[in-house]
């Protein structure tokens, strides 16, 4: 529908959604605790967190289904804190899809156009265009009860997008789909967002989904934003242990930060020995004392032959093997008091898969470590 020449210009300097000191309680339970956030125009933004962290409530306050107890909600530069949902330039794709069961596909998609009082044939033309955009050609007359989950999802998307919203809100839209369909929809949503240039705000508890789709992610715990950043920042440089273990798998090794030594940060661990980190790998305000080091499973390597070398290595016994086909996950015992750590290895031609009890050499590099 929208060619590259008509796609809206993405300008991340203009906040499309601006939340200032938002607080929201239900009865005595405060679910959003003084939260500030700016979402740029044309951004694919994700609110990521476990259930009960307040992410859905936050989305519903942007949509106009909930009013904050205090704070300001602005959309496209206009204050809309107390506006009803039908007065806001936002549209929502609901977790349950909320397809009107008494209407067919065409009527569902055309629902919001009614107040525009378009001529019948123009209305139909618009609906057909939109159905084409979401790959639902030919389903115009299909009754809504005869739709599959994936098709309902697309109808919900078409029904929202036909309103030409400034912000599209997606509340866990893919959680009810099976894995294959979910992956396909992730790419399609991303493609649609790039084509249309509309700001998308996605709520999800699935960290992988957030990493794949988003320009930026806000990780939320307990009514507050724990970390805000690009997917790579969030994954590679988590700021707290909680964020680190919520996003993917993270191995933790305890150590003691002894201070700077030759421009590097010196950490002594019983499992990995002396570790030297660059300043960027650690929060700048960290004081000497106990510290936790985080290592991603893919940043450790099983050294298969004597010719394989690594910056550092240690010997360890394998305690568990999980074979995934393309990958093998090993758990290995640490020499120190730390918990077993997990290592992922890609299975390539001729590469041996070890068994529980085997003793292997594990290689690691200080550059991939993050201190928390």
């Amino acid at each position: 529908m929208a060619s590259s020449s008509t796609a809206k210009i993405i300008d991340r300097n203009i906040p499309m959604v601006k939340l200032e000191n938002i607080r929201k309680s239900f009865d005595d339970l405060e679910v959003v605790k003084g939260l500030d956030l700016e979402i740029g125009s044309g951004e694919f933004f994700s609110l990521l967190g476990p259930s009960g962290c307040g992410k859905t409530t936050l989305l519903r306050m942007i949509a106009g289904f909930e009013t904050p107890n205090s704070g300001i909600v602005s959309i496209a530069g206009e204050e809309m804190t107390n506006f009803d949902a039908n007065e806001r330039p936002t549209n929502m794709v609901f977790q349950s899809y909320a397809i009107f069961p008494h209407l067919n596909v065409g009527e569902n998609v055309a629902y919001g156009l009614k107040k525009l009082r378009l001529p019948k044939n123009e209305m139909k033309a618009r609906v057909l265009d939109m159905l084409k955009l979401v790959d639902l050609d030919g389903l115009y007359d299909r009754p809504s009860y005869a739709l599959s989950g994936g098709q309902k999802q697309r109808v919900a998307l078409a029904r929202a997008l036909i309103m030409q919203p400034k912000v599209l809100l997606l509340d866990e839209p893919l959680s009810a789909l099976d894995k294959k369909l979910r992956e396909q929809m992730q790419h399609e949503l991303r493609r649609l967002q790039r084509t249309l240039g509309i700001t998308f705000v996605l709520v999800t508890h699935d960290q992988e989904e957030a990493l794949i789709m988003s320009d930026r992610i806000a990780v939320m715990f307990d009514g507050k934003i724990a970390q805000l950043g690009h997917p790579q920042e969030i994954y590679e440089r988590p700021v707290t242990k909680k964020v680190a273990s919520f996003i993917g798998v993270m191995n933790f090794v305890s150590g003691e930060y002894l201070g700077k030594k030759g421009g590097k940060l010196h950490v002594r661990t019983s499992s990995l020995g002396e570790v030297f980190l660059k300043p960027g790998q650690m929060a700048s305000d960290l004081q000497p004392g106990n510290v936790t080091l985080g290592l991603r499973p893919e940043m450790l390597t099983v050294l298969y032959s004597t010719n394989d070398n690594s910056e550092n290595e240690f010997k360890a016994k394998i305690t568990n093997v999980s074979y995934y086909g393309d990958m093998t996950y090993y758990s290995v015992e640490m020499p120190g008091p730390d918990d077993d750590i997990s290592i992922s290895m890609r299975n390539t031609v001729g590469r041996h898969v070890y068994s529980v009890g085997d003793v292997v050499r594990i290689g690691w590099g200080a550059a991939s470590i993050v201190a928390l």
């Binding site: 069961p101 009754p143 009860y145």
Partner: protein
């Protein structure tokens, strides 16, 4: 399971026989060629139905009853919609006790209700009329309407309403374009049950009827004349057939709308 099924089957037959044997007697005696309601049957006749057609006061009573039943079921359904909506969507002080008070007439003896209303009407100096019967019947039917419609409104997915608001529709438009179509089966149930309750209600109607009797009151008055008993049987037979047809129509629509809203593709339309 199998060893226990024989006594259960026996129980089922007794139970169904007890329930439906009297109903089977209706058509038997409605077409029986004798003024005495007793076996053996003496012959086939349709005379009782012709008598029925000529009885003008009976038609008057039928007309009153239908008028009362239609009006009472509409009013109780409107009350039901308002109450159910409030119950399903709003939280307010005394909600549970208010709900209890609305449902209470279900458990009050009708004779007490009838006498009480009569006393109140007398005190107010109001004449008994069709409207006084309607008022009594609304009181009886409202708890049924409320309980049916509360279920219907509770089953309504709230996100459907939100989706409508989100797509720019206002609250009134949302009510007519989304909520009303989806609770229609509940509305039909409520109207139908209100109609049925009112149509065969005797005690309250007996107390509150003025000069125009309802059908049950009229039938009761017929019972004083044994020779009229077969006519009552004929009338009962007609009412039975009409109820079965109504029930069939209702069930057809109920299943259709259930298939529409349940989201299943093959739920037997």
């Amino acid at each position: 399971m199998k060893t226990n099924s024989r006594p259960l089957l026996f129980f089922l037959i007794i139970y169904l026989g007890f329930l439906y044997a009297p109903v089977v007697l209706l058509p038997l005696f409605a077409f029986n060629d004798s003024a005495i309601i007793a076996f053996p049957l003496s012959g086939f006749t349709t005379d009782w139905f012709s008598w029925l057609m000529e009885d003008e006061s009976l038609f008057g009573a039928l007309k009153n009853s239908v008028l009362i039943a239609v009006t009472a079921s509409f009013i109780s359904t409107i009350f039901g919609v308002l109450t159910a909506r409030a119950m399903a969507r709003h939280r307010f002080m005394g909600k549970q006790s208010m709900f209890g008070l609305i449902m209470a007439p279900l458990f009050l003896p009708e004779i007490i209700v009838g006498v009480s209303i009569l006393i109140v009407l007398m005190q107010l100096g109001l004449a008994l009329s069709l409207w006084t019967v309607i008022a009594g019947h609304v009181l009886l039917a409202t708890p049924f309407s409320v309980s049916i419609l509360t279920t219907a409104f509770n089953n309504l997915d709230r996100s459907l309403e939100e989706a409508s608001l989100d797509l720019g529709e206002n609250r009134i438009g949302t009510f007519f374009r989304v909520i009303l179509p989806l609770v229609t089966p509940g509305l039909i149930s409520s109207l139908l049950i209100g109609f049925t309750i009112s149509l065969d209600e005797f005690v309250i109607a007996f107390f509150l009827t003025g000069t125009d009797p309802t059908l049950p009151v009229y039938i009761w008055s017929l019972l004083r004349f044994p020779s009229k008993l077969p006519v009552v049987m004929a009338l009962g037979f007609i009412l039975l057939v009409v109820s079965l047809v109504l029930l069939g129509i209702f069930e057809f629509y109920r299943r259709r709308s259930e298939a529409l809203t349940s989201g299943k593709e093959n739920s037997g339309i």
